[in-house]
Symmetry: C2
Subunit: 347 residues, 2 copies
Amino acid sequence: MISKADVIARYLPAQLTAGERGEAFAPSNIALCKYWGKRDQALNLPINASLSVSLAHLGSRTLITPSADGVDHVLLNGEEQATGSRFATKVVEFVDLFRRNSVQPLTIDTHNNIPTAAGLASSASGFAALMLALNDFYTLQLAPEQLSAFARMGSGSASRSIFTGFVEWQMGQREDGMDSHAVALNACWPQLRVGLVKVATGEKKVDSRAGMQRTVESAHLYQSWPLQAAVDLEKLHIAIAGRDFNLLGATAEQNALSMHATMIASWPPLLYWQPESVVAMQQVWELRSQGIDVYFTMDAGPNLKLLFLDKQQAEIESAFPGLEVVAPFLHQQCTADPSFTDAIKEA
Amino acid sequence: MISKADVIARYLPAQLTAGERGEAFAPSNIALCKYWGKRDQALNLPINASLSVSLAHLGSRTLITPSADGVDHVLLNGEEQATGSRFATKVVEFVDLFRRNSVQPLTIDTHNNIPTAAGLASSASGFAALMLALNDFYTLQLAPEQLSAFARMGSGSASRSIFTGFVEWQMGQREDGMDSHAVALNACWPQLRVGLVKVATGEKKVDSRAGMQRTVESAHLYQSWPLQAAVDLEKLHIAIAGRDFNLLGATAEQNALSMHATMIASWPPLLYWQPESVVAMQQVWELRSQGIDVYFTMDAGPNLKLLFLDKQQAEIESAFPGLEVVAPFLHQQCTADPSFTDAIKEA
């Protein structure tokens, strides 16, 4: 088995040249076809390809500078994190992959602007921003695909946060994982909205890494998950190409529920849902039965993320007071999309 | 495809001799390995074998007598059911399979003593009692396996309610389904308890028949269900033979959750759980984390059925006030079990 350090050694020189400052932003992303299950624990290589939409301005910004006092400093949202804390350890271990022989201490300052109440994972945008900031600080000039593959070694879904808009993380086949990176889909959908429903916050009892491992090891139903994911990926491509919102929404919802189904079928059972999650799901289904096109997706937690189009935003906001609504595609970002003209026509 | 009438015609003479009175009781049963998915819709032939424990005195009693006024009468718990009502239609259609050319009108009087609040299906005990009463009324003198196979044509799980105690419904291979019947396992477990938790009552939006069909047709994860069921059946045999309660409980709980997982992964999503179901599940898991050996199973509805041993009944009743507790095995029924001596020793 290849380690992260082995991979870095294959692709980067032993000694890097530090700059004075490295800075980057990476968006959070919501998977419409989920990453669930690893074929390689060390490198975060997935059992299935996944597809997400990024959350525009919501994400992580990271600034790397040389440390003035001879020791590393890790800050999160302006607060210094104790050496040995979970967050500081993960950040420093990732930085060490690149810093290696250098003894230069650094200050790594990360700000997340994701509403904490929304229960969104920050590891995806966090590791993507950190990778981009390292690329800047050491003037690595890596290609986006390499940045994505390296960010994946920090957190699987970080591979997708290197890009914006619709993003596919290709599972790859190589042992060192360098073909397991994300690519941006050249598709724009300015009418699309993501609504963040707060159900519950607080630390999860079983984190995603442990959760997916338990599922792979104990749920017989997991054996059919790669098939579900492959079918859903294909459907999502068709939905995005044809701007078929109901196909997109239905596929994302069934994919998320199938992922949760594999957890529920695990032993010991893994249920990230709270009673309030069921209430919110029933509310979405009730809205749909009234003819309102709204779907949900969920990650390894109790919160729902709603998918809908701008024309129904008012109705959905009145059904879910306090909903945080994100427009993943801004009109000005869409000029590079050859199918953008069609998208505008629909608007 | 063979119809129910074809099957009856193969095994019974065209004209039956009616008696003056046919009467029978059949117990309800709780599946520890669930029946979920049919390979033949008309005959209720299952995709997987299942295993249940019967609920002793809780079930259905049916009395068949000739009708005095020239028309059929169907009564449920003392109340006449309108001709053409769902219940009366199902009963009369089943009776017609046997009555056939006879024009003799009948009165079919069924009493269920299952607490309606417990949300237990009554079709299993109902069709089993009806089949046994028909066997009595027409003096069919059918073997238990034939009674079970015929009862299955009324409702799949009725095949198991012909027997008491632990019962396995063998899936069979024949096209006419006559090898798809239940058999009693010769095993007694007087310490075993089943607790009926009321979460919600009321008509289900999607009945079990439609639910399992939707699952088979739309859930990719269902492809792994037969494997799950086969593994669980084997584990349950081991658990019963060795009186290993934790293996029995864990297997039953994972089996039930895996069945619900296949529904959750269907499209449109099929969630029989209510928010209160999640509360009750979390309560069971909390009790287990405190060292109390309690597990649950659920059928196609929101209610939980708890599994535990007599020695922990008091603790579990205090955690679930109003719990209806059933002892599936009475000591006096256990004398025929060769392993009963061991079971008594453990008590």
